[in-house]
Subunit: 671 residues, 2 copies
């Protein structure tokens, strides 16, 4: 547990209000911790790694809130180098290395070397090329990144403008950035760190364009790190967060690379300039999908941080009272506060099961795909797209609600919540913009509806579209609202109604003479909604099945069941129109569902602190004065304010520069 | 217009896509600009002030995105001093000064001196005290702030812990901060700038507490700006934004002030320690309400910035195409993009009319209140509370949607959107936390329902609660969905249903034996919702009436009418459950409303750029590479990246410190 954590000189006595919450929990926190971390061994290993990392000042990073962009970057480089060193020294497995990376909250600078450059070589290079480049990369003789996105082009890869023109005389490619919009823009590590990049460019042979292909381009000298001739490279400037990464720009002016620097596993250019493909590899798609699956766990992890800090703080904070006189109430006891906190708490568990399920689905599909069987690819693509969109979107909303639940203090950087939100705010647009992703799922669903209409029995997550369920909601009394199978059926019926309704509308528009692309655009809002309701149904399904199959004791199952009900009910009450319009519930049933939703808040209240404790988030990971394990929030806020650079001197230099003249009357003309 | 703006060395030729949008507008931009700015004279004056300010490097603030907290504060002090100087030199009216402050986006350090300290003296001091303190403050012999909120106490003023104990021997008050939670925390300008503060403290006379009263405390020496004996003062540390203000903390240890430093307009302590009140002044409430009304316009202004940048960028950005082949499409042409942008655009106009109406309501009520008539106070308090909550909450949601509508680039600080959002994120918790404010409105509404039940004819914004409207929605065909009076009736019926339903539920719970405070807590979610639906009805009403009474030409009225319909329809479709549950519309009508909502997006499309142009936001105010008037977005992004401090040198120092060792193999142990 994080209970022995000491930050600075702050007392470690636990705030009595917080201790009381821990004493009233109804289940074994350890059992849940082990479940969430994949078993007792993994939990223990995580704590060991935590101890190693957080004994080192580099990873304690106590001044984080006061650092400039440049200082954050410098420390992140140090962290990266140190992790590489430890990985080798302690012979960490890849899983252990990933755990250590998670513990740093991805506050590293050279992440793309491991996450994109090395895997890029592995899947795009021939065996000969791998033999050349992998040892260099694995031994850090070179540091690499993956340069795809351009200033003017992100989502639509086909329109990328960077060119690689073959010069048969020299047996070289000539790399160029023809326009300002063609500049590579965003790749992590590109600005100041990387020596090499896999650059995606249009292959031009004898004036003809052969489409996008990957090329290894050396960016900086291995002697002195200066940019290579023809290379213009730098950092793109400040972002909302993620200052740890030197996201960069790259322009190339007649940069020459050997022909053999084209990564030729999937397509080749021969010495005489002949182009050939060697069979398309769907494994590329699988890698893209893997990143989306990983985003599910990043979003979850940020949401856990938000839940931990906001719930602990709400147990400590006392404000006002309902009944005049008497002590001020813990704000955790107000129903409106619980409504800000507990649906998000329930969501952290939903996301745990969604991530677990999708990781398993991915692994199974990947096995098949590299074995040449693409049967599961479309389904995998559809599900990873809409779930990435759903979880990243919901996480941002919940994190902001949690931040506000901490009142004015939530606006301070030391509160934690704002920092988590700023990190999460990259997720809805990165690796596929959410609106586009929902549409990709919708495209798959529209096809599945057509398949069903042509008599096909659908498989997988969209099998419910096979036939009208002829559904009538069986809820008759409040207790029915706690039946997760009934709740799941409600979600299914709503998804069925909206997805098939959208398909009918699209079909009707086309039948009435609208061109297909016009009809698609005219129904885009509905299609996005279709993708979303489908994803919500799936998320609830993962949660329901996860709780049903979890091997836990009855006390814990009871709590998990309540959280599952709350997640489902909150989704219904906050999208009530959908459920009423699709006749998934009646107005009277909606009122019953809402009553149970509100009841559950009070029932979850005694376990709220224990539930977030079970995620076992270390105080250094949280980096929050308000969310620390011991609940000494005011001492920590004050201690942190004392570190503010503006407090270095009692009288700030601005007094001598500007205020003195004003106060002594020399600045202003007299009245 | 901002058309002649030049930032840096960037070309001023307007992007042709953006020019085309301007050429296709259906109304006179100048006419709308004048309407939005309160007439041609005020618009002209605003532009003159803009010219004055933005000719000065201090206000150009070209390096804003790269500045540290401390640098932002220093420049903000300079800006404050300069505005004070100009106000005097050019003999600006208060209105002109306020306009200049708006043009800086409130990026000032000493704002509380004008907004809280001086008005505080004016309304809390006796005439004698005013004669002493006002000349000092108005001539900047002292700089003041207003210190109310404490580390442990915000909303619940009665629980503030700072004490002012009368010492009759010395004829002084002894000011103390008894606990860490009693520390003053948050007041703007308190940390490093102010020499004095109005401190709210519990008045203690002969061991008895006489409640909260205001005291002027000197914080810093007027000789050398060092803290006075017994004063501990400093900056509270980094926040999500607003680094311009040195929000501060203050602890007092037996700080002695003359008895006459208690501001005694409303309550007095005599030389012999006798306490007396001189009639309560409701004018204090009115000042608090005024700040909430001002927040309406701050929120509006931020939303206008977001709308301007995201809509201009969406006209310039081209990405993908619906029909394979052909040019990439302006993203402004995608229905899903329009749905992200145009409801927020419509909201900027809604907020314009809401702010205008509420300002007029406030001024009328204030006249009466200072005349001793408090008839309108409860209504004013209720409306300003729920509208502050609604507009601040909606603005944050819209700003984030706008930011994401700019894709990955929206995550860059130079995009603008993120900075507007970070500024707006303070609004939901400042000056009354939104959930608390909605409840205050709900408390008023519950009383009004009871009054109506007892046969009273209600006045003002809640008059609709007098009797069941016995409403049946008259929509029969799509054209009815463009009748703003019908839309307004739909909102009224929904508000009636939810407010009276909540009152019934609360009553039933109490009748069944629940204590009043328990019943209130058990219905808090419903009460918050009641406050919110009431505010939404009022916002739509302000917009509908504003458009009806605007003195404009038919082309402009047509556009405003469409925006009004869109705002109302978007509110219905995104809260559809409410409207269905209260039988304000049927499922079939909801589908018609949704169809018209989607049609309006395409109809507003040709005017979108002209509509944001009409707000006449200066490029320097926007401070956005993506939202500039000329649309040269990529050149500006690149120019801004070149200013990034990390690009000062081609090889970053981090190479010598950390990367060289890694690359040359000296850092890691060998494989």
């Amino acid at each position: 547990m994080a209970s022995d954590t000491v930050v600075g000189n702050v007392s470690v006595a636990v705030n009595p209000d917080l201790q009381k919450e821990r004493d009233t929990g109804t289940f074994d926190v350890r059992e849940l911790s082990q479940l969430l971390h994949g078993g007792p061994e993994k939990l223990m290993r995580k704590r060991e790694l935590e101890h190693l990392l957080f004994s080192d000042p580099v990873f304690q990073d106590a001044e984080r809130a006061f650092k400039s962009k440049e200082e954050i970057y410098e420390l992140a480089v140090q962290k990266s180098v140190k992790l590489f060193e430890w990985k080798r020294r302690y012979q960490w497995t890849e899983e252990e290395f990933d755990t250590a990376v998670d513990l740093t909250c991805h506050d590293l600078a050279l992440s793309l070397h491991h996450s994109m450059f090395i895997p890029g070589i592995e899947r795009l290079a021939t065996d000969e090329q791998k033999a050349e480049w992998l040892p260099l990369a694995l031994n850090f003789k070179i540091i690499g990144t993956y340069a795809q996105t351009e200033l003017g082009h992100g989502t639509n890869l086909l329109a990328l403008e960077t060119t690689a023109t073959f010069d048969p005389m020299a047996d070289e490619f000539v790399m160029n950035t023809p326009k300002i919009t063609s500049m590579k823009w965003w790749p992590g590590g590109l600005g100041k760190s990387s020596t090499h990049a896999i650059v995606l460019a249009q292959l031009v042979l004898r004036g003809k364009n052969y489409g996008m292909h990957p090329f290894i381009v050396q960016l900086r000298s291995l002697e002195d790190h200066t940019p290579m001739p023809g290379i213009t490279v730098g950092d793109i400037g400040p972002k909302l967060a993620l200052q740890n990464i030197d996201n960069g720009f790259l322009m190339m002016n007649n940069v020459r690379i050997p022909r053999t620097n084209m990564l030729m596993r999937n397509a080749k250019v021969s010495r005489d300039g002949h182009f050939s493909t060697s069979g398309s590899s769907k494994a590329n798609y699988a890698t893209m999908i893997l990143i989306r699956v990983k985003i599910l766990s990043w979003a979850s992890s940020l949401l856990v941080q938000g839940a931990t800090t906001s719930i602990r703080y709400s147990a400590v904070r006392r404000q006002s009272q309902l009944k005049p006189g008497g002590e001020e109430m813990q704000i955790l006891s107000y129903q409106s506060q619980q409504y800000k906190l507990f649906p998000a708490l329930a969501a952290t568990f939903a996301y745990h099961f969604v991530t677990k399920t999708m990781t398993a689905v991915y692994e199974k599909a990947y096995e098949e795909i590299i074995g040449g069987n693409n049967r599961l690819l479309a389904e995998l693509h559809s599900q990873s797209s809409c779930l990435k969109a759903l979880l990243s979107e919901e996480t941002c909303v919940f994190l902001e609600t949690q931040r506000r639940s901490m009142g004015g203090h939530g606006y301070m950087l030391m509160a934690g919540g704002g920092a988590y939100l700023l990190s999460a705010m990259t997720l809805p647009t990165v690796e596929g913009e959410n609106t586009v992703l929902y549409q990709q799922t919708a495209r798959y669903l529209m096809k599945q509806v057509a398949n069903a209409l042509s008599g096909q029995q659908l498989q997988g997550s969209s099998s419910y579209l096979t036939a009208d369920p002829g559904y009538v909601c069986p809820i008759k009394e409040v207790n029915d609202c706690r039946n997760t199978r009934i709740l799941l059926d409600i979600y299914r019926n709503r998804a069925y109604g909206i997805v098939t309704g959208t398909a009918r509308k699209l079909h009707a528009d086309m039948t009435s003479g609208m061109e297909q692309h016009v009809a698609w655009n005219n129904n885009m809002i509905r299609l996005v909604r279709a993708g979303k309701v489908h994803s919500q149904y799936y998320a609830v399904e993962c949660f329901v099945e996860g709780v049903e199959t979890a091997n836990v004791r009855p006390e814990l199952r009871t709590v998990l069941h309540k959280l599952c009900c709350l997640y489902a009910l909150y989704g219904i009450s906050s999208n009530s129109g959908d459920f009423l319009e699709t006749e998934s519930v009646t107005v009277a049933q909606m009122e019953m569902l809402r009553m149970v939703e509100h009841q559950l808040l009070a029932e979850i209240r005694p376990d709220a602190v224990s539930l977030v404790d079970a995620f076992d988030m270390h105080d250094i990971t949280l980096h929050s004065a308000l969310g620390c394990y011991d609940g000494n929030v005011y001492e920590r806020l004050y201690q942190s304010a004392l570190k503010e650079p503006m407090n270095r001197t009692q009288v700030h230099p601005v007094y001598y520069k500007h205020l003195r003249g004003l106060l002594k009357g020399s600045t202003l003309s007299k009245l």
